[in-house]
């Protein structure tokens, strides 16, 4: 069964954050919890500044540490599409997944005493729709589908300056970067 995941074109993304809000609306999230977040990076020197956004939710990784480390099996990687979902009824709110994900995808909801995470809107997809973020994007920068097809079609990368090293969990996300986003000397570049 094909592994599904997100494709993101940062070169056309205007960082409007519609995806972040559409996700919050769909998942009924409070302030402070964002299953999808638009991150911003900038640098350079006037008059040649550079900047790029990264809109990221869950990368439905090939080696998901959250699934590995979850004590109750609430975090599960589905065999039919490789999407990592969180089964709320099994969650004890230990936050082990929060401690395991380099991308910050699982978010702890203090009020509910449980964690929540992007599940690629499995219910919408079961209805034939796209995930809320994809169908909301004003610049059409997001897609969701067969990750291998995305890799073939766009090339792209996940080793972007500012993102954790992809070897930790092997994320199934493809990003078309702009030139400043390519990871050169990652260690030094990330130092504040």
């Amino acid at each position: 069964m094909p592994q599904l995941g997100f494709y993101y074109d940062m070169t056309v993304c205007s960082s409007c954050k519609t995806c972040q809000i559409a996700c919050k609306d769909k998942n009924n999230l409070d302030v402070g919890i964002n299953f999808r977040k638009v991150h911003y990076f900038e640098g350079g020197k006037f008059p040649n500044p550079w900047a790029y956004p990264i809109s990221m939710s869950c990368n439905h990784c090939a080696k998901p540490k959250c699934v590995e480390n979850c004590p109750t099996g609430a975090m599960v990687k589905r065999s039919e599409d490789g999407v990592v979902i969180h089964r709320k009824e099994r969650c004890i709110g230990c936050q082990m997944c929060v401690w395991s994900c380099p991308y910050g995808a699982p978010q702890y909801n203090k009020k509910a005493g449980k964690v929540g995470k992007c599940d690629s809107c499995v219910d919408l997809r079961a209805n034939g729709e796209q995930p809320a973020c994809v169908s909301s994007c004003l610049m059409r920068a997001l897609q969701f589908g067969d990750i291998e097809e995305f890799r073939q079609k766009y090339g792209g990368t996940v080793d972007i300056k500012g993102l954790p090293e992809s070897g930790i969990t092997s994320p199934n996300t493809v990003i078309t970067p702009n030139q400043y986003a390519l990871s050169v000397n990652r260690r030094l570049d990330n130092v504040d």
Binding site: S15, Q20, K45, S136
Partner: protein
């Protein structure tokens, strides 16, 4: 069962805590998604905001409660036929409409009594709940009392369509006027081009398909990715994909620049005219200009082609060359003023002159400057000098807001609702935005050259346009609000206008409007029809109901005020809706209406044939004109004139483009504030670059549109506060000089007021320039007396210049580190009053 109660408890379990709480009833649902799909219904919800988008937003209503939103999915999305997707604000409407801070009941300020009571407490008083009867009685009696004591001119209604109708039948009221959004364009464009458009050329330029023909697109002070959400940035992307080169001129390296631009040229605010003149100089002395175009289509360029009766010495070319004033307007001269390197100016000029077709598309920003009439004039002239008008893909226009990438006539439009306007007997009493608060304080205003008139305003009625917050001079405006005897506001949240009022009347939003309606002012290719989503919340009422009730109490004929029931008015719009014929030759009816539809609605009308059946139209919520490249609906301005200037003369005095316009000069002079020469020249702007240098107000502030809000609307919505922190942009080197680090709290001091904000220290803005988002709701910090929200209009104004437009981007400020606490905006308490 009480639907509202049910709504509340349902909302509570499935909604974030910032939305209306339940009434303690227990949860009955199990899995939300399951229930939603089984019992819910998608309704088109109004997105009524003044952002330029007004896109398609739909809500899922389950048992009378909105559980979530979605956007346009009425057709497959494609670049040629795009969906009309909502932006972060539109997608937050659920939080907006159901916010815990919705105004629930009519309120009276605790320390008010007829005459004003303790007026100093306006803005910081406590609120007392009153009944509708009491509230309406107070408004009516105050209007009566003030009319009798001071006359109708004492009643000032800066905005509020409905109250204006009431007062027009009651002897009249003092009006407010003045351009805000399009800056100096409206007063200039018709004189130079002869075209009368709603906002000075906003509808002109190229539609999105013609833009794909442009070789060069210059976004001059235009940031569609942020300021025109919806499709414009996506449409520009298609032009880029089709091969257009993009240059962005802006003091900020905006996200539009990042996504679209091949080159970014940072130019100081208020000095764009200087750069344009520098460019023209370079073009002219290198003979890159289109002499044939100038000779054929323009007057005023050189001494041999002046308009009738004009002094030949007043020609533009000699001004550029410095023949008479001894100052050639070369790029070095321009560079001193605008801060752009002369080499960059030269390259830019050459690139523009050698690219045909090239389109210059400007936002309002460069022209939203004091005495700013030269900017539109110069910009249009830049196009004349290089012959870049009238060719598909070329042009110069302020094609922004809902028109960005959608130049041309509306291809589909609603009909007239049937409600005739009521003339204001005092329509000659018009006070400009740049004078109104001063007029309240000083008792005088200017009504044309030399004519100072007396006025004694004692009553202010606020409707939908948030004037206290959104017009310049808020500091003065607060003083004015504490001067008059009575202030009444109608709103659905306690925004600035309501906060400084004595009586606040809670109104419904468009989600609660009986019969639904058309979302006004979307782009040219769509009409959106929204339906009623929920019953009015708490005791909120429609604005027109309030007008009717006040009219009753004033002894007026309420049926004159509110002549057509909402369902009928909306039906009139539906019946009269028109769509352009596919061959572009005219319009035809849009909607098919049957006898069955009529009787079902219970309205008056006749059956008709159109393109889409009524029921389908209402259910879908949108009609989008099918378009494709090369269809008969493409648009470029002035193609007819360029093709045959004799047959298709322009409506200017000369019949041609006027680089020299005495009429424009006379027009501006008649306002009585500043003057403008007949040709475009560079003149320092009041509170522009030069003034700041003189007296230590070291930085120029630009007030940008900000995605947390649509102007001032949405400022209170928690999700949006979380994502957009209302930061204050400052250049990294400038910050370094003052020891300011990213995130430090800084105090920004204007000539009229000050505020403090977290600093966003960045390389994305030019030195000497700072920026903040316009529209934040004033929040005066009691301890310091300063605004802590970053409401731009606190800092400057009111100032009236030129045609009476507002110079939001002429503002000099000083910056200091602020030694005080400031919580992130998202942690501020919501304005929950009762």
């Amino acid at each position: 069962m009480n639907l509202i109660k049910k709504a509340k408890n349902y909302i509570m379990d499935r909604t974030p805590s910032s939305m209306l709480p339940g009434r303690g009833l227990s949860k009955t649902s199990t899995d939300s998604q399951e229930i939603d799909c089984q019992t819910g219904q998608w309704v088109t919800a109004a997105c009524w905001h003044n952002c330029g988008g007004r896109c398609l937003n739909k809500v899922l209503v389950v048992d009378g409660v909105v559980v979530r939103q979605k956007t346009d999915d009425t057709h497959v999305d494609s670049p040629d036929f795009p969906q009309q997707r909502g932006c972060p604000r539109g997608r937050s409407q659920r939080q907006q409409v159901f916010g815990v801070d919705r105004l629930k009941y009519p309120m009276k300020r605790k320390n008010w009594e007829p005459g004003g009571g303790n007026k100093e407490l306006r803005g910081k008083d406590q609120w007392v709940r009153i009944s509708w009867d009491e509230a309406l009685a107070i408004v009516a009696s105050e209007a009566k009392r003030i009319k009798e004591k001071y006359g109708n001119s004492a009643i000032f209604i800066p905005s509020g369509f409905e109250m204006q109708r009431v007062l027009s039948l009651y002897g009249g009221y003092a009006e407010r006027w003045g351009q805000v959004s399009w800056g100096a364009w409206p007063g200039v464009y018709p004189f130079i081009t002869g075209m009368k458009t709603p906002q000075g050329g906003d509808t002109e330029g190229n539609d999105r398909f013609r833009l794909r023909k442009s070789k060069l697109i210059i976004l001059w002070g235009a940031n569609p990715a942020v300021s025109s959400n919806g499709n414009p940035a996506y449409n520009y992307l298609q032009a880029k994909k089709a091969g257009a080169k993009f240059i962005v001129v802006d003091p900020l390296y905006t996200d539009s620049a990042r996504v679209l631009a091949d080159q970014w040229i940072p130019c100081r605010p208020c000095t764009d005219t200087a750069m344009i003149l520098g460019m023209i100089y370079h073009v002219v002395i290198n003979n890159l200009h289109d002499q044939l175009f100038l000779d054929t289509y323009c007057v005023g360029f050189d001494a041999g082609h002046m308009p009738a009766g004009a002094d030949p010495k007043e020609n533009f070319k000699d001004y550029i060359l410095g023949t008479y004033d001894g100052q050639p307007k070369h790029p070095e001269w321009a560079s001193e003023i605008c801060g752009v390197d002369p080499a960059v100016i030269r390259n830019f000029a050459e690139e523009y002159a050698s690219s045909k077709p090239a389109a210059i598309i400007t936002g309002g920003a460069p022209a939203r400057i004091n005495n700013g009439e030269h900017l539109p004039h110069a910009m249009l002239t830049l196009g004349f000098v290089t012959g870049n008008h009238g060719i598909p893909g070329s042009g110069v226009s302020p094609c922004m807001h809902n028109k960005a990438t959608y130049a041309g006539p509306d291809l589909v439009r609603p009909g007239f609702n049937g409600i005739e306007s009521i003339a204001n007997p005092l329509c000659h009493i018009k006070i400009n935005n740049g004078e109104m608060w001063d007029a309240v304080m000083t008792g005088q205003y200017i009504a044309g050259k030399g004519e100072i008139r007396d006025i004694n305003i004692q009553m202010i009625c606020h409707g939908s346009a948030s004037c206290l917050n959104q017009r310049s001079g808020t500091t003065r405006g607060i003083e004015a609000h504490r001067q008059v005897e009575f202030v009444v506001a109608q709103n659905y949240v306690l925004n600035t206008d309501a906060q400084y009022a004595d009586i606040v009347l809670p109104v419904v939003t468009q989600w609660e409007t009986e019969g639904g309606g058309f979302a006004p002012g979307s782009n040219t290719e769509i009409v959106i029809f929204y339906s009623k989503v929920i019953e009015p919340l708490y005791e909120a009422k429609p604005d027109i109901w309030i007008a009717r009730e006040i009219g009753k109490r004033l002894g007026l004929d309420s049926d004159k005020i509110d002549p057509i029931p909402p369902k009928q008015a909306v039906f009139n719009q539906i019946a009269g809706a028109q769509v352009i014929k596919p061959d572009g030759s005219g319009y035809e009816k849009l909607i098919t209406i049957t006898e069955e539809d009529l009787s079902g609605l219970g309205v008056q009308g006749t059956p008709q044939t159109g393109r889409i059946p009524y029921k389908e139209f209402v259910e879908k919520g949108i009609y989008q004109v099918p378009r494709s490249p090369g269809d008969n609906l493409e648009y470029t301005t002035f193609t007819a004139y360029i093709e045959d200037p004799e047959k298709n003369k322009l409506q200017t005095v000369s019949g041609k483009f006027q680089i020299h316009s005495q009429e424009l000069s006379n027009y501006i002079k008649a306002f009585g504030w500043t003057t403008k020469s007949p040709i475009p020249v560079y003149e320092p702007t009041r509170e522009g670059y030069e003034e700041g240098l003189k007296d230590g107000y070291t930085h120029q502030l630009v007030t940008i549109h900000y995605q947390r809000r649509s102007h001032s609307v949405f400022d209170n919505v928690p999700w949006l506060r979380e994502m957009f922190p209302q930061e204050f942009w400052i250049n990294a080197d400038d910050a370094g000089k003052q020891g300011i680090k990213n995130g430090d709290i800084v105090k920004i001091i204007g000539r009229k007021g000050a505020f403090f904000r977290p600093a966003y220290v960045t390389e994305r803005i030019m030195p000497g320039v700072v920026a903040v988002g316009e529209g934040a709701w004033v929040e005066i910090d009691e301890k310091s007396g300063l605004d802590k929200a970053g409401s731009a209009n606190i800092l400057y104004g009111p100032v009236a210049t030129g045609q009476g437009h507002t110079g939001y981007n002429s503002c000099n400020v000083k910056i200091e580190k602020y030694h005080g606490e400031l919580l992130p905006d998202v942690q501020w308490p919501l304005r929950i009053v009762l």
